[in-house]
Symmetry: C2
Subunit: 422 residues, 2 copies
């Protein structure tokens, strides 16, 4: 089964929002064995929308449309759908009732614009929207299914999960796809590609390999297409086994694993807690930990020591250290990591201090200079990095690098502990 | 001038990455007066890429293509471009030299895959890529310009800024567009639309209005299209002036302003510093502050008090309070905000404590229950919210709500101070 995604609305085309909806839908469709052929973002423009619907119908069995269902003038999707499916509109009573109840709960009186949200094209099946006022709509035309949904992310995801996927599963048309992504740290794309050449050439023809490099690592994605999902899974997992033998030290995780999750698992294995002392990363490392459910079992907390006062008062950094070496120094990073372990009573600690930019750099310590310290049960490591990028990339890079330093330290200490107990 | 964006690669279509490149390009094109007609994401597939190029050529004067220029097997963009422009490939010596120097600096030996990155289609003009090994390429065919760039975000932005925009400006074809977005807090979309009906109907025909609601506010975007950029700016600014008279208390900012920036400006106005005590938001509020350049002049730092130990040790929350009322309570939030102001020596404080989920909820305090306290020079406010969403949305919603509470408190205290000095 092939799908296309059409997002309607000027927000994406003028760059005001990033299209996270399509990423979510594409991921979910693939996980459900539906290949996404194209994603198109088109204007709130009558002719353009009709053209996009016609183009998609030629190529796809399923067309998911988001956006343009709001109550205001610039929302024209429903009118276009009526024209495309050659029908009129009527008020859908259950939707009108749901809208009325929804607004009543919030103490808002129903106006004509709210009432118009219950108007639906005659030829659609209404898909209830439990998270908002605009209902979803399901159409069928010459073997192609069209689904129109609001562009508000949690309204769209609700309709997809509650209505669209259950209906597709019932239809029995779904094909199998199996993806696995291997996260490889410490080898560049070209070198890795040479190292894996024989393995890659020997992959079965129904498995596709993609290299997805980013700043910190290369992700290798294996995609298998077929009909027997058990067989696909087994073959891909066998290939991953071979890869583990080829580059054992460089695989740091799989699929959507993040370094906060990977270190979280290692901390759990070591029955240890971590705390963070952040200057230049400004709370980002704490945020990366705490966005993971259950992180309270290994993440104790942190101090965002954005001013020197705070470094001294809460992390016990000495005034003499700051005077002699400055806030961005090896000595300060070491005192910060010792201080945060002490103050928060944790087994492991991370400390960052640096110049995120765009201002504050000197010839000696240019923008992008970051000292990172990690400390464990027996070992403390400290290193200086020069990232040279813009502020947000420096923050992200410093955060990821710090987490990776902790990962390496944890691996060392866990292995040492294993050797000692042997 | 009309543009289209084509992104090539499976990553977007399987939902592995979010397409931030297109958002950036669309924003920059619009700021430069180029309307974006469509954004399409297509597979690493030969036939599909050629079709997308042909479709875009029919509709646009400028086609920006990203992705598929890496050194590995799955990168087929260059082959497709050669076929589309009916030409062969040759090694571009300056690119080969740049690649060699780049790798030498990093101590990496040149291999065949690296060398192949200097191969370019015969009919293109090469656009140097200072941030990576794959050069950009500029083609012209029957009045349409095609530009192919790598998909790595900072490589693409470098080529756009250094090469593409300067060349387009030289061509003199650019039309004027002027956008302004007004951030409206505290009125729902339907109510706002009724309040603004007369103003909206009286807008000049060359100004387009869009309502862009999100969870916390409605953004109103005015877009003016024409030839005289001074006139467009003047007319839009006049309309914003009228809007300021219609809903004076609800406009909290403009364009990309964030609540951390808005409160940062108010803190600067009040010559005050803020500190944050975060439990359920886990460092996210500190991160929102510190990602803004220059925030060290009003953001002092914070404590991520993820465990009760940390709340007691660093924020002076009493054990008796935690025992009697629990960590998620009005009393704990109040002690946290007082504690963080005291410990960090700040004028203003924010504290959050809640249940982000998915676990940890009770019938009494379900997932999404969050207590937020803000405290200033004279006043402390505390409020309980029930967000009922998933973890990441609860964190984001709690962070934004806390910042908005601080904004309101700052406005009150700044106004009071102004009254006192009169």
């Amino acid at each position: 089964m092939k799908a296309e995604i059409i997002t309607i609305g000027d927000e994406i085309l003028i760059g005001q929002i990033v299209d996270t909806n399509s990423a979510w839908m594409a991921e979910q469709l693939n996980l459900n064995g539906i290949e996404v052929y194209q994603v198109s973002s088109v204007h709130d423009d009558h002719k353009h929308i009709l053209q996009a619907l016609a183009d998609a119908q030629q190529r796809a069995d399923l067309v998911l449309i988001t956006g343009g269902l709001g109550p205001t003038k610039d929302d024209i999707t429903k009118k276009c759908l009526c024209e495309y499916f050659n029908c009129g509109m009527h008020t859908h009573q259950p939707s009108l009732q749901a809208i009325t109840e929804r607004l009543e709960k919030r103490g808002i009186a129903l106006n004509q614009l709210n009432r118009d949200q219950a108007l639906v094209p005659d030829s659609c099946t209404v898909l209830p929207n439990k998270n908002g006022t605009a209902p979803g709509m399901w159409f069928e035309k010459q073997d192609t299914i069209f689904v129109s949904m609001p562009g508000v992310p949690y309204e769209m995801t609700g309709i997809m999960e509650d209505e669209v996927f259950p209906r597709l599963r019932k239809s029995g048309k779904l094909k199998s796809i199996y993806h696995q992504t291997i996260l490889v740290y410490g080898i560049g794309e070209s070198t890795l590609s040479e190292m894996l050449e024989n393995w890659e050439n020997a992959l079965p023809p129904f498995i596709k390999l993609a290299y997805l490099p980013n700043q910190l690592m290369v992700r290798l994605r294996l995609s298998a297409y077929g009909t027997n999902s058990d067989e696909l899974k087994q073959t891909v997992d066998q290939q991953i086994g071979k890869l583990q033998e080829l580059i054992p030290d460089h695989i740091c995780g799989y699929n959507g694993d993040t370094l906060s999750e990977i270190t979280g698992k290692l901390l759990t294995k070591a029955s240890a807690m971590v705390a963070v002392a952040e200057s230049c990363t400004g709370g980002n490392i704490a945020h990366l930990y705490t966005e993971v459910p259950g992180s309270s079992s290994y993440f104790k907390g942190g101090v965002v020591a954005y001013s020197n006062d705070v470094k001294m008062a809460l992390l016990n950094v000495k005034a003499a250290t700051l005077d002699a070496h400055g806030a961005v120094s090896q000595q300060t990073a070491l005192e910060m990591v010792a201080g945060v372990k002490q103050a928060l009573g944790s087994d492991y600690g991370i400390a960052t201090t640096g110049i995120a930019g765009p201002d504050g750099g000197t010839s000696d310590k240019p923008v992008g200079t970051v000292w990172i310290a990690v400390s464990g049960k027996h070992t403390t490591r400290v290193e200086c990095f020069r990232f040279h990028h813009n502020r947000s990339r420096n923050i992200e890079r410093a955060s990821q690098t710090a987490l990776n330093m902790l990962r390496q330290l944890l691996l060392t200490e866990i292995n040492e502990a294993a050797v000692r107990t042997k």
